[in-house]
Symmetry: C2
Subunit: 308 residues, 2 copies
């Protein structure tokens, strides 16, 4: 199957799983439910769920004819839960990042942000409830995993989302605003703010595979770390080169907010070279995994070459 | 041991466990860490951790001489994790509730709220990171529980904190502001906003006991539901009868914000009677548990009779 087709398939699956999770919420607080749905189901690239599925389907993709018996069936229930959980964390972070006290963004994916479409209080609460929902989804019974494995996945998601991951990175972003920072500081920021959850997505997908070996998990984590940073470098490049309509968010915002970016530090050409280097690193990490990795390779190319 | 002494002991233990959790956060984002610590360690009654400990210590309290062999040792590591996790959720909810877009409170426990002492962005992030920390603490390895049990505890906390619990209740609170609502609606609000996490605290404590029976867990849940509501009724009474200094928060705020309260619905005397009825219900639920329940009884009395 072509990657773009597979990508669409995973995106559709993500949307279905998230819709189902929202539908299950029941009628208690309709406004909150609507805000959660709005923040979660406005579309987006679904990069993190894609990575969960691609990583978890790893063993079932590719040349099944040459080694049919060694390829276990992917665990769809667990992958769905992990993909939805990771996207809930991502969606909540966008809702809170867009708030007036944070980035003060009115537009996200071409539509009014949650606090504009609803109100600030509801946006704060919707983010909070989406974070809880992530852990509810990931800890549900009957996912076909051992409880040990699932508990480890909860632990990894909590660490990636919290102080040592995404929240810590967002705090660094606030701290550095209006300051010129060096490349090491910028990398530390991004490794936390966006990298931690992308890495977690790849790891959660792999942890859905019963007999995943720790060595392969490490290789996948290296892959994830490289594409996580590449994703951010490309984001910085697009903030300069793309237009607002294509981006679905305000173009040139980084410059306006005096945020340090890779193009600012390395020049546009230097930033493009870095993205290519990181792509090479990601692909090299996959070489250590004795399974078909075409899908993950294709996603790495997509992340660096995307134009929105 | 006298209850007040035991209470102080549990409070001290809670503070120690929370301090340790904060100390472990490391130096990544000092401002965020400071805000989390400020929000978490400003004191407070620690009602939820007390209930975790009291419920989990249940089997080890009381008349150990009469049935020494039937009383298992409490699992301290698990109780500490559960107590800290529940308090992290509670602390994050206070930080977010105090925000200008929510209750807009400058004062909490007699001190500036987190967004006043720091800033709004940091307060939002500190709340977010405390929620993640709760799930990180509860999913950590080596708590001496089976992974199945621990996963169930994560699930219960996620449900109690999220849309079907605390966040949903907070949404109802916002929805009903300035509206006169009836007693059923008020009870639904409180059962979610504060009741869900109090119930969860009691259940998590009990789930730390390896051989806890489901029937006893149900009885404890009924106890918890009664004292959860009693807690709120007493809160409403104190908002009228206590002064700002004693409360550590602005007295008369409910009336000012036109919030529906039990004294407004039932009169002060009616509200006091309801609190007593709920106390009786709580005590009656404990009668079904064949273990020493003095501590839980004493806490129920404390919750209804407290004056701040």
């Amino acid at each position: 199957m072509a990657t773009s087709q597979l990508q669409e398939q995973y995106q559709a699956r993500t949307a279905a799983v998230l819709s189902q999770a929202i539908a299950k919420l029941g009628p208690l607080a309709p406004e909150l439910k609507a805000a959660m749905e709005y923040g979660l189901l406005q579309g987006g690239k679904r990069v993190r769920p894609l990575l969960v599925y691609a990583s978890g389907d790893l063993l079932a993709q590719g040349d099944v004819l040459s080694q049919p018996s060694s390829l276990p069936e992917p665990n769809h229930a667990a992958l769905d839960a992990a993909a939805a959980a990771v996207e809930c964390i991502h969606a909540y972070s966008l809702i809170h990042d867009d708030l007036p006290a944070m980035d003060n963004d009115d537009l996200r994916r071409g539509k009014p942000t949650v606090h504009i479409a609803f109100d600030e209080a509801t946006a704060i609460l919707a983010g909070d409830a989406l974070q809880s929902l992530a852990f509810e989804l990931l800890s549900q019974a009957n996912l076909g995993l051992t409880a040990e494995r699932q508990l480890r996945m909860v632990q990894e998601l909590a660490v990636a989302a919290g102080y040592h991951g995404m929240c810590g990175g967002q705090a660094l972003d606030i701290q550095y605003e209006g300051q010129a920072i060096n490349r090491a500081a910028l990398e530390q920021l991004h490794r936390h703010k966006t990298g931690a959850l992308i890495r977690c997505a790849v790891r959660l997908g792999a942890l859905c595979v019963t007999d995943m070996q720790e060595a392969h998990l490490s290789a996948l984590s290296e892959y994830a770390q490289a594409i996580g940073l590449a994703f951010q470098v490309q984001d910085d490049i697009l903030d300069i080169t793309a237009d607002t309509v294509t981006l679905g968010k305000t173009q040139g915002k980084d410059v306006l907010q005096q945020k340090s970016t890779y193009p600012a530090l390395l020049g546009l050409e230097g930033a493009r070279n870095l993205a290519e280097q990181l792509l090479d690193q990601a692909l090299a990490s996959l070489a250590d995994i004795p399974y078909p990795t075409q899908t993950l390779e294709a996603f790495a190319h997509y992340i660096v070459n995307r134009d929105f």
